[in-house]
């Protein structure tokens, strides 16, 4: 009797182990090729220093710090050929994750500095590079044309802290209800409904 039970146990454990290893292998192969976990990427992009504002860029140019960066121009090659930041290499956004491109950007000791004709595209590229295992990726705030006119040609101090994420309007002006004394509109707050209270309890 004991022998039979031991045999069942033996076979069951072996089966379990085989299924486990198979699942591991299948998932390993099926999983998309990321090098960093999503949460780690999220905390990397939440870092404030990740976006380089015009003032900072201006300082970097005047003190010649740009050499420490691999400058990457994400615009299509026909605009890249017309003009770009000095020392920049061209990797069109659509080719960002090609093997050759990743190799080009991965220089030991260097941070990657991305810019594009659209700030959100550069930001998207930085998220993807973080998730591909790059640990130092920065992006230039604003698009290339803005940088060219306000930083490269003549530095305009008014643009020192400009970035696309800045609110350009007082939005409340456009959605006012007219009823409020202070002009602030009555707004809907999401209603939080406590639907369920689950009591957890351990024990055997």
């Amino acid at each position: 009797m004991n022998k039979i039970q031991a045999n069942i146990l033996k076979n069951a454990t072996l089966l379990f182990a085989i299924v486990g290893v198979l699942a591991l292998l299948v998932q390993w192969i099926a999983a998309p090729d990321y090098k960093a976990e999503n949460e780690a990427v999220l905390s990397a992009i939440a870092n404030d220093n990740q976006k380089i504002l015009p003032l900072q860029l201006h300082e970097m140019i005047t003190t010649n710090q740009l050499a420490d960066y691999t400058l990457v121009d994400l615009r299509p090659s026909h605009v890249f050929n017309v003009g770009t930041l000095s020392g920049a290499i061209n990797i069109p956004f659509a080719d960002l994750l090609k093997k050759g491109s990743l190799k080009q950007m991965k220089k030991p000791g260097n941070s990657v500095l991305l810019f594009s004709d659209d700030e959100s595209q550069a930001a998207a590229a930085s998220v993807l590079l973080f998730s591909k295992g790059f640990d130092a990726v920065k992006t230039l705030a604003n698009d290339y044309d803005y940088i060219k006119t306000n930083v490269l040609e003549t530095f305009d101090p008014a643009s020192a802290f400009s970035k696309s994420e800045k609110a350009r309007f007082d939005y409340n002006r456009f959605f006012r209800t007219g009823g409020g004394a202070d002009g602030a509109p009555a707004r809907t707050q999401p209603k939080i409904i406590q639907t369920e209270i689950v009591k957890t309890q351990g024990g055997c």
Partner: protein
Amino acid sequence: MGPLIPQGFVNADLNLFFAFIIGLGFGYVLEQAGFSSSRKLAGVFYGYDFVVLRVFFTAAITAMTGLLFFGYLGWIDWDLLYINPTFLWSAIIGGAIMGFGFILGGFCPGTSLTAAVIGKIDAMVFIGGMFIGIFIFGEFYDTFQPIYTGAFLGNVFIFDTLGISRDGFAMLLIVVALAAFIITQRIEDKVNKTSDLEKDARPSYWIPSAVLIAGGLLLLLLPSQPRTNWHEVSPDKILTTVSNQHHLTGIDEVTYSLINGKDRPVVLVDVRSAEDYARFSLPGAINIPLGQILDHRYENLLRSDQKVVLYSNSNTLATEAWIIATRAGIENLTVLAGGLNGFVQTIFQEEHITDSYNLNVEHQGRFREKAKNYFLSGKAVPEKESVGTPVIKLIEIEKPVQGGC
């Protein structure tokens, strides 16, 4: 139930059903291990039968290896696991009472139930005593309270105290457990004076042991960065979508649904900080700051059947949030093209062409002009809170002060 309920495959209301099934299995195992016999249970204190120790150690290392492995494979969400917090005094005193009662009564609370079910009268008396104890504790709770909740340490882990990794501790525990099996067997044989013939007739357990050790080693050797997130969306797909701008929702579409909310509902999600949201948000928008986009609380909301539009002041923050959430497998999200800046620019700042030979341009211009007046007159902002109020449903997990047996 593991990943099935949080991912929405199984209705959360079935929780009790699974608890029932698992309870049946647990009771069966306890009874089959001989735990309904107090003689067997007390044996561990006298040295003639160590089956209690062996069963619990086996359960611990098997469950531990399985949990770590399932967690690694992404089948179990560690964040949802409830870990009993440590109250030092109640743990010491409760443990002492438990051990004392174990020797005297021959049962622990769980096994007394299995024994009562198969009709053992002493187990029923034991359960009765348990209820009296609970009653006394409840009546004098105020007296016991300082001890009960004293020396709160929070969720402390042995491996943190020892300064080793979680997987290293798991390996250590497996080795200790297997060693304990061998040693307790020796003690048992000595106390019971087992003959060599009986020893030879014993089945060998080297395969299960080897599998456990191999599992522990595998967990130690696998890279700590899981490469097994099969449910995530591939980076190439994300890149293609963003570079073709298929992740964007046009300003006109959002405007239309702000005006005709009932016909074409979209869920607007503000990914800016809470302060920015408090200052201004689009009517009916919900605030999920970028840093919380992976929070479980918002998952059902983001996985809505309706179209979900993320927005920030421009495209940048919303696109970042879009990539993170899309990678996590939430696929119906879009980004408001141009963000709030683009929205205000297009609807309120630009001159609208309301008279053109091109009908498309004319219609668009008229629509935007109409929308502008509509918004300026304040009609998009619901006056009563009940109109179109977004709702966040919360399932609160209330932590018990103490659990355990």
